[in-house]
């Protein structure tokens, strides 16, 4: 029982914060909450100026502000998770456990997984979608602006809960210098059971922080599901009448399918986490041998876990499909097939979970059927790649940073995708499962495709968001470095897997040293590249050249000046019409509210 107390306390604090949040907002007329904030509410707020300073960011329900908050939060989480990655690769420079001890190493790869999957990728994509999806649709906001805000504000406390062990460790270390009792802080260690949390290990580990982390993950799942519902309702109900399903842009399609996957997968994760929490603290036997057995956890977890893989990657595919044509000077090739392939991936993703469990002694007939579906899901993935290449064929390619990102993503996707086919083949998977091959395979996607798509988006919409231009030369160099770093880091891991090196080994046999050092070198290149991106973003947002012409990418001449850029142009013109406001022209201003969405729906 004792080990639940920190979790309960943290949950209580979270609830108190929420209650305070509502209390703060309750000065608004109550009736505007009744429909959860549809267009009428927004109209009601049009006259209201946003509060100045920091209070604005804590109280905002504007989709663009929340989008930026999501992106900032996701980026911060990414940097934290990347620090974990750097720690992992530093440890693996030498075969023995010389830098961190094994427990620290186990904790670091566990939290690396949690942070990157739950607090980096999905929040950043949610942020991008928050910002641009209503603009792409021509809606004035998401369907439920307040739910949008709640969904975001649940994330920071859940991150703190999941990573609390490290925070308490640091506090304990700092406070421990003073003559006070720090046993409470020391009781909470960083979680070290692997992000897959396999029972019975995760039940038997004594560390009370695990229970806190489970609550944190549950909370983040609630937040993710709320955001997903918001997107689904927005796409269905907030489109202007002339925007039929056939005219819906590709990014919105992908967000729609992703949100559907979230809606079906995350509630299951939530229940599963609660079952584990009960097993740990209240003596239930869901996953005990005399109860459901350890395999129950794996089935439930991967039934969520495999759709999760596509929840991570589908928005990246959407961004690639959206941005690529803009730099090819022509429309997306096979738009309809790309939409079909996205839906096909979404459906098939629920039928492949057991391919994570081929080595558990499952019935071979079951294994064979999961192999068949896992191979089938490669077809829609390949279709996307071919369609992207066909979009570039005969086009006019402008090698700006966003396009370099996308070409890089396409090239890592080829290797990352084909290596996945080997893992779908049961006999080959039996040898490669739980080796570094698997790590190499999925990192080619989660480092190769996903961040490259995000960075492409960050450059593509940077002028629209900040009103300034980034440093294009630095951006090109950074992108190329990221692509090289991805291959240098993860190709050696594929070879290591073939040589038999298991994953999650902080200590490894000496014959694997060379390839590990090459991989670490690549990881440090990735680190440098991320740093360059960060410098470029921050510096350019502060002092980059101000954008005067909304058509930054010459989209008008090829007829691809889409709604969000039209919105940007209207805003620039409106500002030019007024007296040039003082201060930072890049920041959001109250005028953004006044733009009538129906005016720019024509393009």
């Amino acid at each position: 029982m004792l080990d639940t107390i920190p979790g309960v306390a943290l949950a209580a604090i979270g609830l108190a914060v929420l209650a305070a949040y509502y209390r703060l907002r309750s000065d608004r007329p109550a009736m505007s909450f009744a429909d959860g904030g549809t267009a009428s509410v927004t109209v009601g707020l049009t006259g209201t100026e946003k509060p100045a300073g920091i209070l604005r960011w804590f109280t905002t329900v504007d989709h663009k502000d929340i989008g930026l908050l999501y992106i900032l939060f996701g980026t911060a989480a990414a940097l934290w998770g990347a620090t974990d990655a750097m720690m992992i690769r530093t440890e693996l420079l030498v075969p023995e456990s010389a830098v961190w001890n094994v427990e620290t190493y186990n904790a670091v790869f566990t939290t690396h997984g949690f942070t990157m999957l739950f607090f980096f990728v999905t929040p950043v994509f949610t942020g991008i979608a928050n910002y641009v999806l209503p603009l792409l649709l021509g809606a004035d906001d998401l369907a439920f602006p307040r739910i949008n805000a709640i969904a975001f504000w649940l994330l920071p406390p859940s991150l703190v809960m999941v990573r609390g062990g490290l925070i308490t460790d640091v506090i304990g270390m700092v406070v421990g210098v003073l003559p006070v009792d720090v046993t409470l802080f020391e009781a909470l260690e960083p979680v070290a059971m692997g992000w897959t949390m396999y029972t019975p290990l995760s039940v038997e580990m004594a560390n009370p922080q695990i229970s806190v982390a489970l609550l944190g993950l549950h909370l983040s799942g609630v937040a993710t599901t709320m955001a997903a519902i918001n997107f689904i309702v927005t796409v269905f109900t907030e489109r202007p009448p002339e925007l039929g399903w056939d005219k819906l842009d590709i990014f919105s399609w992908n967000i729609l399918v992703t949100s559907a996957l979230i809606l079906l997968a995350f509630p299951l994760l939530g229940s599963t986490l609660i079952m584990l929490l009960l097993d740990r603290n209240f003596g239930t036997t869901f996953f005990a041998i005399e109860g459901g057995g350890p395999m129950l956890w794996q089935h439930l977890f991967w039934f969520f876990g495999h759709p999760e893989v596509y929840i991570l990657v589908l928005p990246a595919f959407g961004l690639v499909s959206l941005i690529l044509p803009k730099f090819c000077g022509r429309r997306l090739f096979g738009f309809r097939f790309i939409v079909y392939s996205t839906i096909a991936i979404g459906i098939l993703s629920f039928g492949v979970w057991a391919h994570h469990m081929f080595a558990t002694g499952m019935d071979p007939r079951l294994r064979a059927s999961f192999m068949a579906v896992s191979l089938a899901i490669a077809i829609p993935s390949a279709i996307k790649e071919f369609n992207w290449i066909a979009t570039m064929w005969n086009g006019r390619l402008r090698l700006d940073a966003p396009l370099i990102c996308i070409i890089g993503a396409m090239s890592t996707f080829v290797v990352g995708g084909i290596t996945g086919v080997f893992l779908a083949s049961v006999p080959v998977d039996l040898v490669l499962h739980d080796t570094h091959y698997v790590v190499g395979h999925f990192h080619l996607i989660v480092v190769g495709v996903i961040p490259l798509a995000m960075i492409a988006a960050s450059y593509y919409w940077f002028p629209l968001i900040t009103g300034r231009m980034y440093n294009q030369r630095l951006a090109r160099a950074q992108t190329v470095l990221l692509i090289i770093g991805t291959f240098v880091t993860f190709i050696p891991l594929l070879i290591l897997g073939y040589m038999g090196m298991p994953r999650r080994y902080g200590i490894y046999p000496t014959e694997f040293i060379t390839l590990n050092q090459i991989a670490s070198l690549g990881a440090f290149l990735l680190g440098v590249s991320v740093f360059l991106w960060l410098v470029n973003m921050i510096q350019s947002a502060r002092v980059g050249p101000v954008v005067r012409d909304a058509d930054v990418w010459n989209l008008k001449e090829t007829g691809q000046f889409t709604r969000e850029w039209q919105w940007f142009e209207d805003r620039l013109e409106e500002r030019r019409g007024k007296v040039e406001p003082e201060g930072d022209p890049g920041s959001e201003s109250e005028t953004t509210r006044a733009v009538d969405p129906d005016d720019d729906a024509e393009s």
Binding site: R330, G361, F386, V421
Partner: protein
């Protein structure tokens, strides 16, 4: 179109080069390893050229159409879409069929020929070696129930004889992973999983735990010693010492020296 032909030649050359890069295999150390690595090689012969081809087309497209002066508007081409969908499906159908044949081998999937799914120990045929691998945090115990031998040193198996390995765990999930013999089977508490193989090459092979099992996970290593039939019989008589002299000769020959843990 001249450019296209030149590209085709370059791509063909690259593909040939890539096939040459597929590693040629050493002698298989077990029948399991033999069938799996043959399958893996078949897949590589297919996958590496496809990967090189697609990457080459991608690179060529970027190089050829960068700052292109005469862009053409996108024309839909349903036939092309259907063609590459079917082509991908055919490749994957081959992968699936080839994998299924290997999966159906008794040395790869141990339950297929057993309708009762009886993986309980004690069902090994007379002429096979039956060994139990009991895992716990963080070591392996190898039991030979018929011979009344129990050891934690290493799993000793005779060459060219079928081995039935019954794997279980005393606590959390572990795994028996012997990459050089092509073996991997998770060890789950409360149940036995059967791994069936036949080692064909004498030597010492490293055995890893491949499922995260706590603090001692990366040091949960052991070895599998494949020895001649005579030597195996001698070892069963005296499990403590007899293997040592032959081990010194073998280990240097096959390159998989003792574990590298500190």
């Amino acid at each position: 179109m001249r450019g296209a032909r030149r590209t085709a030649v370059i791509v063909a050359f690259l593909a040939a080069l890539a096939i040459g890069a597929v590693p040629s295999v050493a002698v298989a150390a077990s029948v399991t390893e033999q069938v799996i690595s043959r399958l893996n090689r078949q897949l590589l012969y297919l996958a590496v050229p496809i990967a090189v081809l697609v990457e080459a087309i991608l690179a060529y497209t970027v190089w050829r159409f960068r700052d292109n002066d005469e862009p053409e508007p996108t024309k839909e081409n349903r036939q092309l879409e259907i063609t590459w969908t079917i082509a991908t499906a055919l490749v994957l159908l081959f992968v699936g069929t080839a994998s299924f044949y290997v999966l159906a081998q008794p040395t790869v999937s141990t339950v297929l020929d057993d309708p009762q799914r009886n993986a309980e120990p004690g069902n090994a045929p007379e002429d096979a070696v039956e060994a139990h691998i009991v895992t716990e945090q963080w070591n392996y115990t190898f039991e030979y129930p018929e011979e009344n031998v129990t050891t934690s040193e290493s799993l000793v198996l005779p060459e060219n004889r079928t081995a039935y390995l019954y794997i279980t765990s005393e606590d959390v999930i572990h795994s028996v992973h012997v990459p050089e013999l092509g073996l991997k089977q998770d060890a789950l508490p409360g149940q036995y999983n059967l791994l069936r193989t036949e080692p064909t090459e004498k030597g010492e092979y490293r055995l890893y735990c491949a499922e995260l099992c706590g603090r001692g996970h990366p040091e949960m290593l052991s070895t599998v010693q494949v020895v001649s039939e005579d030597e195996y019989e001698r070892w069963l008589e005296n499990p403590e010492s007899a293997l040592n002299e032959s081990e010194a000769n073998e280990s240097s020959a096959n390159g998989s020296a003792t574990d590298g843990g500190p």
